[in-house]
Amino acid sequence: MDAMIRLEALTKRYPGQEELAVDNVDMEIRPGEIVVLVGPSGCGKTTTLKMINRIIEPTSGRIILEGEDVTDVNPDRLRRRIGYVIQQVGLFPHQTIASNVATVPKLLGWGKERITARVDELLEMVSLEPRIYRDRYPKELSGGQRQRVGVARAMAADPPVMLMDEPFGAIDPITRDRLQNEFLRLQEEIQKTIVFVTHDIDEAIKMGDRIAIFGDNHRIQQFATPEAILSQPANEFVDDFTGTGASLKRLNLVRVRDVDLGEWPTAISSVRREDALAQLDEVDQAFLLLVDSNRRPVRWVSRRDLSRADWNQHVGLPVRAQVPLNATLSDALDEMLTSSVGVAIVVDDGGAYRGIVDIDTVMTAVNTLRAETRERVAVAAWHAPAGAVEEGGA
């Protein structure tokens, strides 16, 4: 497969500094994949990212984008072909959201109508209702909303490549989780080639198709799939960096949609209560899940709720623990632990019920994963008895 981005012996030395900031990085990034650069602070991951759009000019080495050597082309033109998202977002405070999103299309000289249509499309894509947000100013938005605008702005001219520098780093954990999931879902549609920097190994495992771990020596220690990094760390540094709890982290590798979901008895919320009771009798469960006419989960009701004299549409427990199909098993486990019923409900993009994840689902997935990895390690060992790791290390 042709590489979308190829870095050849990319090196950065800041003037007056003995040590290299980035030491001889070689990398091939394929079209449509998310490559995460991760490592401790000062390891060169951000410098590497910023050399790709030449916000930082490399000291030596080449940058090849879509087969074209862009190391010496006009940097302004180059950057209009590459989306760029930074941690602080950097929205222009004196411009409306629409005008912010339209920055690159305006630079490229698009027509007015085309820009307006594109801005609305993008705002919808990042779940911001255009009619409400188009004419607002950045200060009127929350941190999470601003970062959505930042992502929309980076995608405005539909660049094949996006660079993201800790895009969710400054956002509270709950919103971050939601933005990560939304972004992964979006990525399935847009299939961009993404280079993503983070210092958080958990985020790297969740977001990355492949992960490049940078070490204190400003070189790549290992560049491989998350699974390979967790199961076959190339060296002690990688092992240390990925840290303990590797099995728990591997729950981040499995998406809810890839496991066999459990079933739960459901009924439309307008069900007659005799029928509901009859249904509960048939199955061996304490609760029945009520869904609305679009099959969106509404409430849990128990036998006791159904027997209450004042039975009405509002009796029962509201549904809290819901996860989308692209959530990880780790997310699902988290939700499950907070759920009063002990299961996480899986819903599709429209919010409709698709199944449940319970502790058995998680255990089965863990066992499968373990078996698969063992098999793969055996195969890898067979093909590469010298113990080389996938894609090579430092």
Binding site: N53, G90, L91, L107
Partner: protein, 267 residues
Amino acid sequence: MAVTGADPRLAAEQAGSPSRLRALVSDPAKAWNTFAIPLIVLIALAALYQYLGGVELTSREAARLNQPELILRARQHVVLSVQIAAWVIAIAVPLGIMLTRPWAKRLTPIFVGIANAGQAIPSIGLLTILAIAIGVGQRGAVIGVTAYCILPVLRNTLVGIQQVDDSIIEAGRGMGMTRQAVLWRIEMPLAVPIVLAGVRTALILAVGTITLGALVGAGTLGVIINSGVVGFSNPVLITGAVLTASVALLIDWVAGIAETVLRPKGL
């Protein structure tokens, strides 16, 4: 930006200015803030008129305290102040922009030093030296007071541009905006409130200092004050002082409104 010239959103922003003017008078508290100064000036002028009506003027005093003379001096005062402000903006803002560019950053201390000196030298001394050098009249007064007023605008332009968040500039550059585009579409608009505050300070300095122009033949309301001092005449002295203060307050009031209206939306 040719593309956005006809942008309906931009048009909406421009239409925003009159609505912000309206906002200044929309509710009673705001209207009070907006019109307190002109009201005070009106009261002061009415009191002055009342006072002058009750005193017997000597022929010498009457030569100063008549309508054509007062209007002439007030007009000189306002025109020279505005001229000075225009020169100050024309010199200090481009200079400030230049000194924030990477290639000229090293020169910043030199120019700020010169501007500091301009303000540190007593203005009456500066005006006298200029009068000797280029002759008496308005030209020397304008040059002297302009030199005196450069510093606040220069300093505020520097600070206004430097305070723009680095991440905003990085985002702009990272999307392929040229340095020029970043300067004109991001840095300058975001610096506007601070630059305007500097201009307002300079304008107030100019209105106050230009009274000294009377001593070098530049006219202004300083002439009235001066002849009051020389002729030991309280009515003339008081009239000169009240009119000078009124002009200063009104010019500051106009500058304040300009500050509110010209501030970019969203800040």
